[in-house]
Symmetry: C3
Subunit: 405 residues, 3 copies
């Protein structure tokens, strides 16, 4: 607890001062620009099975000029967070397994260079390449007019730079590493949201969790929507990969998805001209609403479990973008308050919740890499237990009749 | 005149070189980025009743990344200017009195992160939080189509970073402090405006003035509009606060304002669901066109006088946004060339002036804090003198028939 | 080859290491921000008739905050490249001759401050002021709807900052100086283009060449368009200046140009109210498709030759913007894949080519200053040889019937 690099304060070393933390370091703030910086477990005098480190760096050139990245290497998994893009998780790499995907967008694009309103509201696509892309909070969903206003694809959250970013490390085992970032989604007369995001992971673990709190700082009730666009490519995704979750209902997003409804849980390999199919799912949770969704490979020996709470995130979009690798071979496991229709189409579905003045909404999403057959079997068993023998209602027709599929 | 920090040149100390200035310092220029910097009266060897200082700093994180602020503390009032946002005045604080207001937008937003065209032309609202927000110069007013082109709310001036910023301090009493910044509002074939802005204040004073010059650098006559969106919240604004000005005419902006026409000079306290009412005023000036408008609190012992010239700024919008504090409890005292209708609606009112090639227009606006009853009484007396017993024409109907109020 | 400034490596000095280069220096990259830097022939130990130098600097203030410029002074001509704006060539100055023009836009505008979608898709005009402005690559042409999507003026290339910029200098005479920059024009599901740009010039020369390669990195065929918007003002352009090229066909862009068809090769002096006329040209090339276009002054003793290849760039727009100097007195010599109509109007003309997956297209454009009568005569002779006595088909009617001229 004493080999600190100059300028760092090992809080645990100071008697009586926030004794629960070994480190609390502001990385970005009003008076503190993001700067190249790193710390590791050795410097902190923390002994763990595998040493961990956190690194801050800034990207230059192209449309990524000025973008900050924070790499949290917990010893088993290196998780890369993008403060400049809504604290999104760019990727998480454990050995030769990468959580995330290969988007044609290979820069980490600074929102300063994006016009969300371009391409008829599809400007968001010019920056989309993360493992976890936050969608919200004023709205999510496809672009289109709602009350005469063009809502751009999936809202603004991913294009809001975090205004204060803080790293903390617990003083005691498991020495949990926490990275907090604050987002402000504000416009006079329109919206007054503050979002506190937190990513937590334990040294040596193959898991990280997001713990986000939306606060309506305004004096009026406000509609909101949130969706975690969690995106996975190979090696988790491949021909014969399979999606499993405890479900009350499944329905196709549109007519195209309806045509493949019988195989909605199964994945194709990269398929030329496939584009995408999307399924709207209503998950079951346990008594507390806790639930999970699993994606695993064909061999059943590598997978991911995404856990969340149906009281917070009641619906789920399964995005199957099994087009060619170059086009972006990827699937989205997307718990949310809402499906991916334009907001105007979700009000009749009661999927546009409101948040009262000063109210808060908490959203917790966990990501566990399942590296072995037994991990997957355990996760599937948990799913079975939540399903508890209940049938899945399969709706043949999309919930919404779209003009264009 | 000799205790200068290294690198600074006290011009007054150099015989024959611009003897009128104690300091002339370029703060931002093509080859000079904004950098943390400060100077004070002591360093300059200037003795005033109250010491003054000027500080330059840069904000980081969130949507305010890279925004520069210049604080001019004249000893009695600390005035904060935002070069990155059109040399707007963020706030002015004198003791426990703040000129300005609390917008839900609590960052000072870098224009790089704003799409003025978003929200159907209301993107401007994502950065609106200043005491003085410059509106113009190509157009001002509500968003909407004019000749088939979407004009965004209140023009671009506030989202243009100043291209050269210079601080100067007079060598002799009252040692006037001047901050100049240049704005370029240019687009090939569309507009060729240069705006020189100046903020001046004297050490120890409760007053500052803006002295702006618009130059049409183009070879063609061009329409222009300008409006000083001067915004005040508590403690000046409160239940029973009152607005007074010498006036020729008052009319409601729209049907909603018409319903409260009888109490147009009086303010409500924070009122849930109130939104805003706006009144269109035509002020009287004195022989030279000089005039003023006063806002004072219910007790009549704290107020502000905004002075301007009706030859430069012939009309005035009174914006009464007495909604809840969280929504933004604020009133705007807004002299301008025009009201706040879309430009297309102001041509018939003859409120879209033109500026010939190479012509200039000067706009001077003064802000005097009125800290005592006698200051307010003196200001009201001046208003009375200008009014000179003439009646105010009260138009019941809005000047413009709007489809939507 | 040995007087290197510290930190630089004269590659030629290292036996066996890239022996063809005297210098290879990355100026901007993911981990390397643009920084003030310079090198000259003396430092490199290279002896040329005229010493050369390359300088990197960054602009500050206004809408040019953070824009990088690279000046290549080859001893005879100083060429200024803007990495932040698509590797455009801002200007090239040889003695008292400037290639380029004086736009009302006198800042070099950072794309972060431009909304291409503003002004109904004319936002591009807020940054337009270069000698060479790259247009493309997803589309070029006038703004307007194509398949229901607003295409903004002349595409995005000029508003994409280069993501990796490298300077190299050949080890052997003529010690060619090369500046490479990479552009990424990417959007998930929409476009996956990479463009490698290169500008090359030899010390002491009055010529530079562009050598650009567009790669479709995607898995699908894609439409593309490219146009080199090469812009020249005085002293090349003036009353009586003349345009000459070997041509198969000429037609007026619109009805306004049709009215002046008889004098399409001749230039007016600055003309109030003129705005612009545009002519669509189809050039002849030699056996290899190589061709050139010449603009020369009235005296015929100063000109420019723009050479290109008709297999790469089959059509040519002649933009005659001979309005007043203040408005922008300029002509564009613009070889391209396409004319300047909206993309939707060029498909019927077969001027919207496609590029297959992983395919490349090369575009080479050379710029030779013609400082003397004999240079111009030689260029005109070359044009004559390519024309080879064939007649020019003059089409009276525009190829496209526009609603609005």
């Amino acid at each position: 607890m004493n080999k600190l690099s100059s300028g760092l304060i090992g809080l645990g070393a100071l008697a009586g001062v926030t004794p629960a933390l070994a480190l609390e370091q502001v990385l970005i703030d009003t008076d503190k620009p993001a700067q190249n910086w790193s710390i590791d477990s050795k410097q902190l005098g923390i002994e763990t099975d595998k040493p961990f480190s956190i690194t801050v760096r800034t990207l230059h050139g192209g449309r990524q000029e000025g973008v900050s990245l924070i790499d949290i290497d917990n010893g088993s998994m290196r998780i890369t967070v993008v403060p400049t893009r809504g604290m999104n998780v760019l990727r998480a790499v454990a050995g030769d397994v990468k959580l995330g995907w290969d988007s044609p967008v290979d820069e980490v694009v600074n929102p300063a260079f994006i016009e969300l309103n371009s391409r008829n509201g599809l400007g968001w696509l010019e920056g989309f390449n993360e493992l976890v892309t936050r969608c919200g909070y004023e709205w999510i969903g496809h672009p289109g007019l709602d009350n005469g206003e063009l809502l751009t694809l999936h809202g603004r959250a991913s294009n809001i730079p975090a205004s204060k970013v803080t790293l903390s490390i617990d003083e005691k085992p498991p020495y949990t590493i926490r990275l907090k970032g604050e987002l402000k989604e504000k416009a006079f007369k329109k919206v007054d949201f503050a979002i506190t995001t937190e990513l937590a992971t334990d040294p040596g673990s193959l898991r990280f969790t997001l713990n986000d709190t939306l606060t309506n700082e305004g004096d009026y009730s406000q509609e909101y929507q949130v969706l975690y666009h969690n995106n996975f490519g190979p090696p988790l995704l491949g021909q014969g990969s399979r999606f499993v979750a405890p479900l009350k209902q499944v329905s196709p997003f549109n007519e195209k998805a309806r045509a493949e409804l019988s195989s909605w849980q199964d994945y194709r390999g990269p398929t030329e001209g496939y584009d995408e199919t999307v399924y709207n799912l209503v998950p079951y949770g346990d008594d507390q609403g806790n639930t999970l969704a699993v994606l695993h490979n064909a061999a059943g020996d590598l997978g991911i479990a995404v856990d969340f709470n149906t009281n917070q995130l009641p619906v789920f979009s399964l995005w199957k973008n099994t087009d060619t690798k170059g086009q972006g071979y990827v699937t989205g496991l997307e718990p949310g308050t809402s499906f991916s229709y334009n907001r105007s189409l979700q009000r009749p579905l009661n999927l546009v919740p409101t948040i009262g003045p000063k109210e808060q909404r908490n959203f917790q999403v966990g990501f566990s890499l399942l590296p072995k057959k037994e991990n997957i079997e355990a996760a599937l068993k948990k799913i079975d237990e939540i399903q508890a023998g209940r049938g899945i209602e399969v709706k043949e027709a999309p919930l919404v009749k779209l003009d264009k599929n």
